[in-house]
């Protein structure tokens, strides 16, 4: 850290302090520029310049119905994944705050265990579980629901993606719920509110910042998902990422693939920019009350 420590007296040394913090971040910034900045710039340029300069690739993207279908589907699937995650994570995170330390440890472990095996292997597990002769279909058939297809359908993709993304919903929700003063609920009830009313007027609004934070993270991560839809999905559940990959690797259409990538990238950043102030103010509100 102080390999460049000047051996001069203290006055110039102090002057050196102003640039030194920046110098420490420099190696990381250089690598960032080379491995993230330059590649992304390349993609933007290619989307505008191949085969010739102009916006033709974007005109093509927004002009072809199939692309718009996939774009819309990407949003729909991400929205469903987010909804499923909110519904499943909310009671789970609540229970984490309501139980003793031992049960909580078990609940936390259940959230973290999926991270212990690699993402690809987890998706493989879903291929095994959801296949037509798989466990879930056998159970469904035994229960009288015959002929339900899960693998290579949108439902299958949503089930698999939601399981992968659920921890990203549970953890922020839990961290917000942990800070909610449960005496407020008791106060509401002592003033005559029924438990359900106390929940909807007191607890739910206080926990919303966690819901927003988790939902934004899950939605943004879902938009860019590639592996799970590629393995669990079929032609009718293709998402934008797969389309980008096809254009670039199979069709060698760098311009078109790049334009799609830029659309995905811009969407992600716009969503982040929209969410950031909302989330920040909600957090502040939660902190105040």
């Amino acid at each position: 850290m102080s390999a460049h420590e000047p051996t001069t007296p203290s006055a110039p040394k102090r002057a050196g302090w102003a640039w030194r913090p920046f110098a420490l971040t420099l190696p990381a910034l250089v690598l960032l520029a080379a491995v993230i900045g330059y590649p992304l710039l390349t993609i933007v340029l290619r989307s505008l310049s191949e085969p010739q300069w102009g916006a033709q690739n974007y005109v093509w993207f927004f002009g072809a119905p199939i692309n718009l279908t996939v774009l819309q589907r990407t949003f729909t699937i991400s929205a469903w994944v987010t909804i499923v995650c909110v519904i499943c994570a909310y009671p789970y995170a609540y229970l984490m705050t309501a139980v003793g330390p031992r049960v909580r440890l078990v609940l936390v472990l259940c959230v973290l265990i999926p991270f212990w095996v690699s993402g690809v292997v987890r998706t493989l597990s879903w291929v095994i579980l959801l296949q037509d002769s798989g466990v879930i279909n056998s159970l469904l058939r035994a229960a009288g629901f015959d002929g339900i297809r899960l693998i290579r359908t949108q439902t299958g993709v949503v089930i698999g993606m939601a399981q992968v993304l659920l921890p990203f919903m549970i953890l922020p929700l839990y961290s917000v719920m942990k800070g909610i003063d449960l005496r407020l609920m008791r106060a509401a009830q002592s003033l005559g509110a029924r438990p359900s009313r106390a929940f909807f007027t007191v607890y739910l609004p206080l926990s919303l910042p966690g819901v927003y934070a988790g939902a934004i993270i899950v939605f943004i991560l879902a938009l860019g998902f590639y592996i799970t839809p590629a393995l669990l999905g079929g032609p009718r559940s293709t998402m934008l990422s797969t389309l980008v990959q096809t254009q670039v690797l199979s069709l060698l259409q760098w311009g078109r693939g790049g334009a799609m990538g830029v659309v995905l990238l811009v969407t992600t950043f716009v969503l982040l920019a929209l969410a950031a102030p909302v989330m920040r103010s909600r957090y502040r509100e939660a902190g105040r009350s």
């Binding site: 420490l24 960032l32 330059y38 590649p39 993609i43 609940l107 265990i113 597990s125 002769s133 980008v244």
Partner: protein, 265 residues
């Protein structure tokens, strides 16, 4: 909050289902890995070790595993060094530029995988880095950097900088003060950053799929191509080995951490 018994039972049941949904897919690979037939149909038939044998003897699998280990080890060290330096710099900077730079350094976490992958692939094609160790190390390091930055920044936030001043006032040079005072206190943050960086690299698949070639691929790439090619239960064996390895590592880590915490005055 006061709940009716019925509400409590329903809540418990719902959470049990969610917990099963979270954990069960992780464990499915264990029985599959002992399958006698070359199929991924559930339930598995018979019992055999052949897929584990295949993993250790088939060069496709063993070499990709070794590649992953090599890349992840280098990435862990490199990302920890760069991330720690950057975290220090940001910590000592004015708040405005620091938060801007921090945001910039966290972008690898939010850029959609495929977009980054085609970008890096394009650049690597031009610079002949496709299918090279250096290519993997560079790409994975930048993806792992945010995790190190977050971990080390968190431990710097609680670090009392007056300790460094105290050390300096007692005559320690900047390097000595760093080595004897600062480093031991932020070491836990660096270690967890190191671990996260290793895991990120070892697990990375999207960018790796693009920058791998038949001569050099990492384990996730091999797993992915195996899944898409045929129903080879070796994948399940690999999944089981990884599951147990991580369980042992995390279990050991937790034990160590618990002992350390108890040992502290």
């Amino acid at each position: 909050m006061e709940m009716k018994p019925l509400t409590r039972v329903i809540l418990g049941l719902v959470c049990l289902l969610v917990a099963i949904w979270l954990v069960a897919p992780t464990l499915v690979v264990v029985p599959m890995s002992f399958n006698e037939n070359k199929s991924l149909a559930f339930p598995p038939q018979g019992f055999s070790w052949q897929w584990y044998q295949n993993f250790f003897t088939n060069p496709d699998w063993s070499s990709s595993f070794l590649n992953s280990l090599k890349v992840a080890s280098v990435v862990a060290v490199l990302a920890t060094v760069l991330g720690t330096l950057a975290a220090f710099g940001l910590d000592r900077m004015k708040a405005g530029p620091a938060s801007l730079l921090r945001m910039l350094m966290l972008t690898p976490m939010v850029v959609p995988g495929v977009v980054l992958a085609i970008g890096i692939y394009a650049v690597y094609l031009d610079t002949h880095l496709v299918g090279t160790m250096l290519g993997f190390v560079l790409a994975h390091t930048i993806l792992a950097l945010p995790f190190v930055l977050i971990a080390v920044s968190a431990s710097l936030e609680v670090f009392d900088r007056r300790l460094e001043t105290a050390a300096a006032s007692l005559g320690a040079g900047a390097l000595t003060a760093f080595r004897t005072v600062t480093l031991p206190l932020i070491l836990p943050g660096m270690l967890s950053g190191l671990l996260f960086a290793f895991a990120t690299s070892f697990d990375e698949i999207v960018v790796s799929l693009f920058i791998a070639n038949p001569y050099l691929k990492t384990l996730p790439v091999q797993i992915f191509s195996s899944i898409t090619r045929d129903a080879d239960p070796t994948v399940a064996a690999v999944g089981t080995i990884l599951l147990f390895a991580t369980t042992i590592l995390i279990g050991g880590g937790m034990l160590l951490l618990g002992r350390e915490r108890k040992g502290r005055p």
